[in-house]
């Protein structure tokens, strides 16, 4: 029996190939085929294949993508009996009503160049208020899930709530020119083109380890996050294996492994962050509840309109 396991490429695939997959094979006896991709590709593939004959059994991707696919009927409500580890998850990881389980969290705060910035930021508002940042702010674009969160976050900060996007766009307008990136803000940060930007803690930790003078803060208004939601396909070709694998990913052992490798915040409450990792994984346990979450249905439904406004506003 073979399970197709979707994974990100590069270091992720490397790690999955060398460590995660063999461990799962050892535990389950099933072979693993790694399929490199991301939410966009898996989404496209699933839609092209149709609900009835999906090429995958399990998909782990950002909640933004997952919620859309869920609505189209690709996923099933998790059969918790086959997923014992679900019970140990933090509440943040269970926010989807049992339709998905968040397997990994990368909290996003504000990353900045310690050498190029005199006054270090404390809050998101500093992006507007610190003149040092002018023209050197990096933002994810709207295509990226973090970009969508930026909009919702700013709407919340400058307006009533996440739905008050007029306020959000007004704020973006006021921000002046920013350097937008579809992915990888690190390049800009490394070359000094960008001095401040939303950054997940894991990435800042990596950059720091590579010797770049950067740091990251937890903004006063709250954090956002990259999440990895595990979903099981309703018509999965290998449903049992998929559950087995999902349970495996959520197990404390694997969560700890991923934490060490990628500095993610583990979602299984049985994993404790050791002291030597505290600096790189600053958010864990109860702190995770402070991460802001969003009504993705709102975004998915208004996607076109919001994207267009973003394009017209952010320069």
């Amino acid at each position: 029996k073979t399970l197709v396991v979707p994974t990100l490429g590069g270091v992720w695939e490397q790690y999955w190939r060398s460590t995660v997959a063999p461990a799962f094979t050892k535990q389950s006896g099933a072979a693993v085929t790694l399929d490199v991709g991301n939410g966009r590709v898996w989404g496209a593939n699933l839609r092209a294949a149709g609900v009835a004959k999906p090429p995958y059994s399990i998909v782990m991707t950002n909640e933004v993508f997952a919620s859309g696919l869920r609505k189209e009927g690709f996923f099933e409500k998790l059969d918790l009996s086959k997923l014992p580890n679900y019970a140990d998850l933090y509440p943040l990881a269970k926010k989807t009503d049992g339709w998905g389980a968040i397997g990994a969290v990368s909290p996003i705060g504000i990353g900045y160049r310690t050498d190029l910035v005199k006054t270090k930021p404390k809050a998101w508002k500093d992006l507007w208020e610190n003149p040092e940042f002018k023209g050197r702010i990096g933002l994810y674009n709207f295509a990226n899930s973090a970009g969508k969160m930026e909009l919702l976050l700013f709407s919340r900060i400058f307006g009533k709530d996440q739905y008050d996007v007029d306020a959000g766009f007004a704020a973006l307008q006021k921000l002046g020119s920013v350097i937008q990136v579809d992915f990888n803000l690190s390049t800009g940060l490394a070359s000094g083109e960008i001095v401040v930007a939303p950054f997940d803690f894991g990435e800042i930790a990596r950059l720091k380890k590579q010797g770049l003078p950067v740091d990251c803060i937890i903004p006063e208004e709250g954090m956002i996050m990259f999440d990895q939601t595990i979903n099981i396909l309703a018509n999965a070709p290998e449903k049992d294996l998929a559950y087995q694998y999902a349970n495996f990913l959520l197990s404390p052992e694997v969560q700890a492994m991923m934490m060490k490798e990628f500095f993610i915040s583990p979602t299984n409450s049985k994993v404790a962050v050791p002291a030597d990792l505290k600096a790189d994984v600053p958010i864990s346990g109860a702190d995770m509840d402070k991460i802001l979450t969003w009504d993705w249905n709102f975004v998915n439904e208004k996607q076109g309109e919001l994207a267009e406004r973003w394009a017209k506003t952010v320069k």
């Binding site: 966009r40 496209a44 839609r47 859309g68 609505k71 189209e72 050197r136 674009n141 709207f142 295509a143 990226n144 020119s177 350097i179 937008q180 990136v181 579809d182 990888n184 390049t187 800009g188 070359s191 000094g192 083109e193 249905n297 998915n300 439904e301 996607q303 076109g304 919001l306 994207a307 267009e308 394009a311 017209k312 952010v314 320069k315």
Partner: protein, 285 residues
């Protein structure tokens, strides 16, 4: 097949594989897309029920999008022109220059293509960024006070596009120049034409097939380029291709994205046809 049919249809066999390939794997799949472009926009789904022309209407009614078309065409035009002006001499040198250098020159010309787009953009950032090598050097020399805006604007996009598209201009022109009988240039000189005149009146027009090929290729590629504009342009400069990609895979508006894509492609096709007409070689059969 009998002899008569063979003679008549023989040439068609040459185009048959391409025709079949394009029909089966481009035309047929795109029927879906054409259909998609007249679907209702979806609410959190790829498309809604029912059909509409509103996707096109929305595009043509909004100066934001029309402006992007103009912008895209303009960038394509400038890039093509720059590639031609920069590439022609190199093509000439590769075609006619001494042989020792040729293989190396050929390799150098191809080299921009050998570096993946992301890495290449990184290279440009190092050079052109506000904090980049050029600006730092110039500021260091005191030539300028603040950084020159070389990146995150149309200029940066054009520089990067010209760089990577130059090979597509140079190679066809090089083959065309190789096909020119040097005795034609000799004849022109015997009639009193200076080197410059020989170039303008004989070499240049006879290399037109190469110029045409190169320009069309570069122009079309510039229109559909999206990684370079988004990386080098910092998404500040809006081009059609970027917007189309956004709409299609990032924000998931398939009907509107398809409509835009089809308009973009049609624009490109029209531009190619017009260019072909303008540069038609009457002396060819």
């Amino acid at each position: 097949m009998n002899a008569a049919a063979k003679k008549r249809f023989g040439p068609l066999l040459l185009i048959a594989p391409a025709a079949i390939l394009l029909t089966v794997f481009l035309v047929l799949p795109y029927l879906n897309i054409v259909l998609m472009s007249v679907r209702m926009p979806g609410q959190g789904t790829p498309y809604g029920p029912g059909f509409t022309l509103a996707n096109y209407g929305k595009f043509f009614a909004d100066s934001f999008y029309i402006g992007q078309v103009v912008n895209t065409l303009w960038i394509g035009f400038v890039t093509t022109l720059a590639c031609l002006v920069l590439g022609y001499p190199v093509a000439w040198q590769l075609a006619r220059g001494n042989s020792a250098f040729r293989a190396v020159g050929y390799g150098l010309v191809l080299s921009p293509l050998l570096v993946g787009i992301v890495i290449r953009s990184y290279g440009w950032t190092i050079l052109l960024g506000n904090n980049g090598l050029i600006n730092r050097t110039l500021m260091g020399w005191g030539v300028i006070d603040g950084p020159l805006p070389l990146m995150y604007n149309a200029l940066g996009i054009i520089i990067a596009l010209v760089h990577v598209f130059l090979p597509f201009m140079i190679l066809p022109i090089m083959s065309a120049i190789q096909g020119i009988d040097p005795s034609l240039e000799a004849a022109a000189r015997s009639l009193g034409a200076s080197k410059a005149k020989v170039f303008r009146r004989v070499t240049l027009p006879l290399s037109l097939p190469g110029i045409q090929a190169g320009c069309i290729l570069v122009f079309v590629l510039s229109l559909s380029a999206y990684v370079t504009p988004s990386l080098i342009g910092g998404l500040r400069v809006k081009t059609m291709a970027v917007t189309v990609v956004d709409a299609l895979i990032d924000t998931f508006q398939w009907p509107f994205g398809s409509a835009m894509a089809l308009v973009l492609s049609a624009t490109g096709a029209v531009a190619v046809v017009i260019f072909g007409r303008l540069t038609r070689m009457k002396w060819k059969a």
